[in-house]
């Protein structure tokens, strides 16, 4: 079964990618499976300077999901290029850098640095992280700001496929999606986490030091699926779907509503070899469904 996909210049041998922030720099999972099997590896969000992130507690479990407020702790782009990237099988599996910055200028600077790096196959711009007070979520919640960032990054890095990752915390996701498409995005990925909160009635404190955080995992899958479906209906560029995917069946649900590829996030925590198993299970399930190719299955949802 051919499960390869072409995301507007970014070719993947299969549609299973890791989601940023849930797969470390990829190397953390090398003991549990063959990284070369994956469609692509999306690494933890990178910023110009190293960031230490928010104080702990940063994560808490919720019904069928979790909240996180990591605050984009990362080693910084320099150290990533020096100490992480060389050890990833970039010639066998595309490595995608996820970018975080506090302003459009900083995004452009980051994009220029990573754009020069042959071992980075594409850039994913996180305009939707709700965990950083300045910057972050604002870009993803306003169509003008989202377009502005997209244009700046496009200009700074004209040669690599550009993925814009959208926030679900908006009134109409289609407006933002169209806006970034017009501004030059090659690919759209969604969803990032939903804003959420958890508290402890005994200590009377929030369960996250940051008070609020981002919700992910199976709990959000219905929200993600609807948004991916809606966005696929209004843009012409490929869409990467994510949000709560835990199984090959979940992955095919997103592809059936129109996604070209999917990312596995929170499910990586359920079992570190889960993502590798999904790569094997996907073609088996497709065959069971009597589908000849992934291509044929994509967008095949029949609505009344």
């Amino acid at each position: 079964m051919n499960t390869s996909v072409d995301l507007g210049g970014l070719r993947l041998k299969n549609p299973i990618m890791s989601a940023s922030g849930t797969f470390g720099y990829g190397l953390e999972f090398a003991p549990y499976g063959d990284l070369q099997k994956l469609g692509a590896i999306v690494v933890k969000g990178l910023s110009l300077q190293p960031r230490s992130g928010n104080p702990p507690p940063r994560i808490t479990e919720t019904p069928c999901g979790m909240l996180n407020a990591i605050g984009l702790q990362n080693v910084g782009v320099e150290k990533f290029l020096r100490e992480k990237l060389p050890f990833l099988p970039a010639d066998k599996t595309p490595v995608i850098a996820n970018l975080y910055a506090q302003g459009a200028g900083e995004f452009a600077e980051l994009a220029a640095i990573l754009g020069d790096e042959p071992k980075v196959s594409a850039l994913e711009i996180n305009i939707s992280c709700p965990n950083v007070r300045c910057g972050g979520v604002q870009f993803g919640q306003d169509p003008e700001a989202a377009a502005f960032v997209t244009r700046q990054v496009r200009r700074a890095c004209p040669d690599k496929p550009l993925i814009i990752k959208l926030s679900p915390n908006v009134t109409d996701i289609r407006v933002i999606a169209r806006s970034v498409q017009e501004a030059g995005a090659d690919i759209i990925s969604l969803i990032n986490t939903l804003g959420g909160m958890a508290v402890d009635i005994h200590s009377r404190k929030p369960r996250l030091a940051n008070t609020v955080g981002g919700l992910s995992g199976p709990a959000v899958k219905p929200v993600a699926l609807k948004m991916v479906y809606e966005v696929c209906g209004v843009v012409d560029i490929p869409v990467i779907g994510l949000g709560g995917i835990c199984s090959a069946r979940d992955a095919l649900e997103f592809i059936m509503v129109g996604a070209h590829a999917v990312q596995i996030g929170t499910a990586n925590f359920m079992r570190p070899d889960l993502i590798f198993d999904l790569v094997d299970e996907l073609p088996v399930l497709l065959a069971e469904l009597g589908v000849e190719s992934l291509e044929k299955f994509r967008g095949s949802l029949e609505t009344a």
């Binding site: 953390e28 992130g53 104080p55 940063r58 994560i59 999901g65 996180n68 925590f269 570190p272």
Partner: protein, 261 residues
């Protein structure tokens, strides 16, 4: 082993639960699991997630490796919430995803003397350590506990060890225990090294006194963990030289001097 994923990974197994043994109290249970192929260092831990959990609870749960023999891997669990409660009612023969050995354990040298300070469930990582130690006479243990001593694997520790247990049921007991810890740390100080594991308030007391005396000590800390493999960045603790670091990778055992508690 019933089902192992060794071909695709070094460390993640789907192991069978061989049996459960309640220590005379429904909230304290020893899980006996099919032994994995790997070896471990005391202080290292595993992540457990029963197949039957499906999507809720979403996270695996971290547990110290209590003991490993050719017949079984043993995990000592106290029921404190949903996950541990589900584990304590797991059905023998059911399948549990287990990955490990995770993190850094205690650095040990056989010729050194050790003062082990364990609070409550903090005894877990020391069971294998003490039972497998060739010269248990070199080990002393001070064990503080809230529930009856019979709930914990204290009596099975080698008789050659110097063992002391103290129960704390109220604030006064706790304060007294704190003073005992202080004295014992001061008395032992540079005769060897201190190893400690237990709940945060206990560790904070130990930490304070080892820093005061300058006694060399390794502390095992517990933090909320989602992945256990260094990916989620949820389990960070503050260190002096490196800021916030993942305790699942750089810990759970740290040099006392490195930790900011």
């Amino acid at each position: 082993m019933h089902n192992t994923c060794q071909t695709k990974s070094r460390f993640c197994d789907r192991v069978r639960l061989l049996g459960l043994d309640f220590a005379g109290h429904p909230d304290f249970v020893h899980l006996y699991l099919e032994p994995p192929s790997w070896d471990y260092t005391p202080g290292q831990f595993v992540m457990l997630r029963p197949e039957i959990w499906v999507q809720d609870p979403i996270w695996p749960r971290p547990f110290s490796i209590c003991e490993k023999t050719p017949e079984y891997m043993r995990i000592f669990v106290q029921v404190v919430g949903r996950g541990t409660s589900l584990l304590s009612s797991a059905v023998p023969d059911s399948e549990i995803n287990m990955w490990g050995p995770l993190g850094r354990g205690f650095r040990l040298s056989l010729d050194k003397r050790y003062l082990i300070l364990a609070g409550g469930m903090g005894i877990a990582p020391f069971v294998g350590l003490c039972k497998e130690h060739p010269y248990p006479g070199k080990l002393s243990l001070i064990f503080g506990h809230r529930m009856d001593r019979s709930c914990y694997p204290f009596d099975e520790l080698p008789g050659e060890m110097q063992r002391q247990s103290m129960r704390q049921t109220n604030q006064e007991d706790m304060e007294h225990f704190g003073r005992v810890l202080q004295e014992q740390i001061a008395r032992f100080a540079f005769k060897g090294e201190i190893l400690a594991c237990g709940p945060m308030p206990f560790l904070q007391v130990v930490h304070k006194h080892v820093l005061e005396t300058g006694a060399p000590a390794q502390l095992s800390v517990e933090t909320r963990m989602a992945c256990g493999v260094g990916a989620c960045l949820g389990c960070v603790v503050e260190t002096r030289s490196q800021g916030l670091v993942q305790s699942c990778v750089q810990g759970p055992v740290f040099d006392a001097g490195e930790l900011v508690l």
